[in-house]
């Protein structure tokens, strides 16, 4: 700060404390603050020294001034004489602008080109000139500011000294500094110019899009061939898709196997191939080992038959057994409906005094009598089996413990694809028979089962479990008995066999341990359609005739086989075999032939067309002392039967020509086919044994018409 101010400040301190303080503050401030204040001060209005001093009244006086666009001094309608036309013509109005003074200046702006040229001509560098000028300006500015502050300080100081002197001091100070007044209305904007990056040009060249060449020749036959090929591919795809869908519908344990690591699955594949080789080799060995039997099976027709009337023989062929199930009893036998050389053998037990743990389902083929093709070992004894007609790899088995299982032998024999829940779903007792029925409308497979607990259950194969409903509870039509605690208990029949009507899928027959046969419908769950008082001992098998669905046969432990007609109380035929009849089956090739096996180890073949009283063939199959025969099954295509015994062995037997005589058409009806002839044959027989039509009505309870 200017040193001149210091003495004045001291003086100020003495008189006024407030003014001194403010001064002190001001002095103590840094240079920056000073600058700011200086800038602010320059903003304050400065009065020119020669400004008039007016009183308040004078200031408030309004001096009106009216401005008009009309210039009264301007002449209007100015005319000019035209010598050309010889008359006055009106001259355009000169307008309201009046030029008072005009002079052309000699100044030029220093940054214009002209100025530069002049400077260069004078030998001065134009850029240097401009910069020095601006520097000079800056210098001038600073000096002026300094002067201003100086004058301010003096002003304040003088104020402090005495109010009267103020004006004088001011008047004195201003001329002293001789500073020029800036235009206070000139507002100058401050701005900053940032660094500007130089513009650069950069070029890139892209690779042209990749191209390729393609050529073809089009002719009508090429297009046609293309379509044919595509169509075939589509058909193939459809076929594959169908197969996949079917495979997908059979949930199996195979997926789990597939999940195994790559190495093991590779090993498995290798094993599979080796297994195939072994199998082929085994077949070849069997072919040579059992060559003579194979020849017998194919060519041996008992020549004695020609000389025997009404009698035939059974020629034993192979024996099928499996070491691990030698102790089990054959509880069911069934030919595969699709592969006519394949049959299933169920191994369980029937001698309930000596229970055997474990059972098995074995699938043998007659091409390989030495070893079963498929082996399904089960925990409990297997009591019955059925093979699906549409999917010949789907087996349903009924167990001794009341469970049912479905095996998909195409996928795996090791574990069942479906198994009933042994807590909530299973039967209360032995499952005696299972039967597949037509698939439901939405393609779900389903089957029926009967058990000793008197229930007929309907099982539907859902995604991976069964849905089970009880169709009927078989109650005996007898009086209720008192239980141990005095409550009345309805007695249940123990079902032992089941068969479905071949034509009407609703109708089925159930044989019971009480010897009754119930004809029921799946549509009714409480009542029977008909009750046959068939036997005195448990019914072991009921079988519909393969050609005439109105006729069925039943066999029982009471040594008898009975042939029934639908809705007729009395049997048409009764045959007594002298021992417990384990099974009876109608032959598929004839309407009048059926076979049966007894516990004495003999197989019987009847042809009621030939002999109404005696079997046409009695063949001891196994030793009557040691073995019992339990089941029999006719092959659908080949002239052979298989019989199962109670030592886990199945024997194949060939029917001699006399046992499978085709019908001879009468001379007048040569055109009729075998099927019609067979039906006619049976009808003729039945008409002989049927009672007169008038008596076919249900028997009168009074019994007056009964003879």
């Amino acid at each position: 700060m200017p040193p001149a101010a210091t003495p004045k400040k001291k003086g100020g301190e003495k008189t006024s404390t407030s003014g001194g303080k403010s001064l002190k503050k001001k002095l103590s401030k840094s240079a920056e603050d000073d600058e700011f204040e200086q800038w602010q001060k320059s903003k304050q209005l400065l009065k020119p020294p020669d400004q008039l001093e007016l009183t308040d009244a004078e200031l408030k006086e309004i001096i009106p001034r009216v401005l008009q666009s009309l210039n009264l001094q301007q002449p209007d309608s100015v005319v000019e004489f035209s010598f050309e036309q010889g008359e006055f013509i009106p001259k355009p109005s000169p307008g309201s602008a009046v030029l008072v003074f005009s002079q052309k200046g000699t100044y030029i702006h220093r940054e214009t080109d002209e100025a530069r040229k002049q400077l260069i001509a004078q030998g001065i560098d134009p850029s240097a000139f401009v910069s020095t000028e601006s520097e000079e300006d800056g210098a001038e500015e600073t000096t002026r500011e300094e002067a201003e502050t100086e004058s301010d300080v003096t002003e304040e100081g003088s104020e402090n000294v005495g109010g009267g002197e103020t004006k004088e001091a001011e008047e004195e100070a201003k001329p002293q500094t001789g500073k020029k007044l800036t235009n206070q209305f000139n507002f100058c904007e401050r701005a900053a110019l940032t660094y500007k990056y130089p513009i650069m040009s950069r070029e890139t060249q892209t690779v042209p899009p990749p191209t390729d060449t393609f050529s073809a020749n089009i002719l009508q036959w090429i297009i046609y061939d293309g379509y044919q090929q595509d169509y075939e591919a589509q058909q193939l795809e459809k076929e594959l898709e169908r197969q996949r869908r079917e495979a997908g519908r059979m949930p199996t344990g195979k997926q789990a196997i597939k999940k195994a690591t790559g190495k093991s699955s590779h090993n498995e594949a290798m094993q599979g191939r080796i297994y195939e080789c072994w199998k082929t080799l085994e077949r070849m060995l069997n072919l040579s080992t059992y060559d003579y039997i194979a020849k017998d099976y194919r060519y041996w027709e008992d020549p004695a038959d020609e000389f025997r009337e009404e009698e035939g023989t059974l020629l034993p062929l192979w024996k099928f057994a499996y070491d691990k199930t030698k102790r089990n009893t054959v509880t069911d036998l069934l030919w595969n409906p699709f592969y006519y050389d394949l049959f299933a053998v169920c191994l369980g037990f029937l001698d309930f005094m000596n229970p055997i743990k474990g059972g098995a389902v074995l699938l043998f083929t007659i091409k390989n009598p030495s070893f079963p093709d498929y082996i399904c070992i089960t925990e409990s004894a297997v009591m019955c089996i059925d093979i699906h007609k549409k999917y010949p790899y789907m087996l349903v088995v009924g167990m001794y413990d009341g469970n049912v299982m479905v095996y998909n032998i195409q996928a795996t024999c090791k574990e069942p694809a479906f198994q009933s829940n042994s807590v909530t779903q299973k039967h209360g007792s032995i499952v005696w028979e299972v039967k597949w029925v037509e698939d439901l409308p939405d393609g779900e497979m389903n089957f029926f089962s009967v058990s000793s607990d008197g229930k007929v259950n309907h099982w539907i194969l859902m995604q991976n479990e069964f849905a089970v409903t009880t169709i009927i509870n078989l109650y005996l039509e007898k009086e209720q008995v008192r239980g141990p605690d005095g409550t009345l208990v309805k007695r249940k029949a123990c079902a032992t066999c089941l068969t479905f009507h071949p034509v009407n899928p609703l109708i089925y027959l159930v044989g019971t341990e009480e010897g009754l046969i119930y004809k029921c419908s799946t549509a009714y769950s409480t009542s029977y359609l008909f009750t046959y008082q068939a036997h005195d001992m448990p019914v072991y098998r009921v079988d519909y005739n393969k050609l005439n669905a109105d006729v069925f046969a039943s066999c029982s432990a009471d040594w008898r086989i009975k042939i029934w007609e639908d809705n007729r109380n009395e049997p048409l035929y009764v045959f007594d075999l002298g021992s417990c009849v384990g099974d009876v089956k109608w032959a598929p090739y004839s309407s009048t032939v059926f076979g049966a096996v007894t516990s004495k180890g003999s197989a019987y073949i009847f042809d009621i067309n030939v002999n109404k009283y005696k079997p046409i063939c009695v063949q001891p199959v196994v030793s009557r002392k040691k073995y019992k025969l339990t089941r029999i099954a006719f092959n659908n295509k080949l002239p052979i039967i298989i019989c199962g015994d109670d030592k886990g062995c199945a024997t194949a037997l060939k029917l001699s020509p006399n046992l499978r005589l085709p019908c001879k058409p009468p001379k007048k009806q040569q055109h009729l086919d075998q099927h019609t002839l067979q039906l006619m044959k049976l009808d003729k027989l039945l008409s002989l044994v049927r009672e007169p039509a008038t008596l076919t009505a249900p028997p009168d309870p009074a019994g007056s018409t009964d003879s």
Binding site: D212, I218, Q220, G226, Y231
Partner: protein, 106 residues
């Protein structure tokens, strides 16, 4: 059953079915573009079934509009060609049993 099926098949073969659906014989377009392109071809060829030139024009215009020019389209019953095309823009297909259509962009 099997015999019946076979008999059916034989009958079918005897009839000589005329296929009219589109078959894409060769294409390096991506799936969406291919589908759209086949759609365009089917529409055009059905609309101008008697006039291959009009069909080709229609296909070309549509393709240009959808995927940007310049597309080239050949529609015909018998011809040969050798072309250079920009990758991912070729479609060579049959339609209506007699037509071969080739679309590419250069």
């Amino acid at each position: 059953m099997a015999d019946l099926d076979q008999a059916d098949k034989k009958e079918c073969e005897g009839k000589k079915i005329i296929h009219t659906y589109p078959i894409v014989k060769n294409s390096d377009m991506h799936e969406e573009m291919k589908l759209e392109c086949v759609e365009i071809v089917v529409t055009a060829c059905e609309k101008h079934s008697a006039n291959n030139e009009a069909a080709a024009r229609m296909i070309k215009e549509q393709m240009d509009k959808k995927f940007g020019p310049p597309f080239h389209v050949v529609v015909g019953e018998g011809y040969g060609f050798e072309i250079t095309y920009e990758c991912k823009t070729l479609l060579y297909m049959y339609f209506a049993g007699t037509l071969a259509i080739c679309i590419w962009k250069s």
